[in-house]
Symmetry: C2
Amino acid sequence: MSPAEPLSANMEDYLEAIFHISEEKQAARAKDIADRVQVNKSSVTGALRSLSEKGLVNYAPYDIITLTTKGKVLATEIVRRHAALKEFFVKILLIDKIEAEEAACKVEHAISKTIIDRLINFVEFMEICPRGGKAWLRGFRRHCENGDTANRCGDYITACLEDLEKRKRQMASSHKTRKHGVSSQK
Amino acid sequence: MSPAEPLSANMEDYLEAIFHISEEKQAARAKDIADRVQVNKSSVTGALRSLSEKGLVNYAPYDIITLTTKGKVLATEIVRRHAALKEFFVKILLIDKIEAEEAACKVEHAISKTIIDRLINFVEFMEICPRGGKAWLRGFRRHCENGDTANRCGDYITACLEDLEKRKRQMASSHKTRKHGVSSQK
DNA sequence: TAAAAAAGTTAGTTACACCAAACTTTATAC
DNA sequence: GTATAAAGTTTGGTGTAACTAACTTTTTTA
């Protein structure tokens, strides 16, 4: 077993495309991949041969294209990175969906698992913590729009305290389910 | 004037290296660049020719290497992206400095100005807003370390309120200076 | 100042990733 | 069931960016 040397950004894009097409249709055709990745169909042939050699896709000339188990694992990881980045851009940085999507496409190839895990954790905490959450985000939105800062935050603290009380009441009845319990780095 | 088609990640790395070497020493030598970018010196010659053609570096064979005004502007922008990413990784995501540095090196080539501006704005707001800031970050740190969440946030709210009072007192005496007043996207 | 070392360049090669054009295979339509 | 269209492949060529090895220029040192 090779220590799985990293895929190039281009190959990751092909893998991601095959993953998405396979989800939508039953089989992935070279034409679909070419359309999605926006390359010439002859480039797809080359990419498929390369990905096949790496054991990531099942490929034989003129045959239908599927991901191997290894390929599926890798594609899922790329899609996860993409989704996490897009969510952060949209929910936290308040970037519009189209631009967030484009940015995620580029950054997903450059970011490590450690940072993606932290980012997911961060967005989650933002939504859970009563001092953060939606009221805090409203404050950030104002900050972006008109440079408003600390002098208005007092109002939100009040909202936060109310939110905290509400949560305490909720907490009393139901037990929480945990996910993404990222501990300190080793 | 060309609409300045984007530089490749590789060329951005060279530009950044020349920028940093120029800051440290008086003149940038090809050897220094090769050492910094970790490439063979013959690769540097090729890169310099390419950057020279694009009007970003002043280059003549065997001569010293400097950035043009255009090159300096571009390099400054890359360095800004790098710094903003690193700061976000270290201060907000609590990634250790070494890994943050490595990550910033990769991501800086993939991220747009819009998002970098927002990220800078975000980190700034985080430090300004009394509901965010250091107390909030302590909460996030605990969340990362042991999955602790909402039930402990009450303590921090108290700290936040104290912080807010302190800020109000400060506000009363001195006038604020504004920076990074990012408005809504066009 | 002449020899040696260091720095820089050139030439030739490799790998990746793309393209257009020509060709082959498979699918669709009549 | 054969003609045609669509899909897929091969061939040959481009550009980027790296390398090694051989060479030239500059700098250092003795």
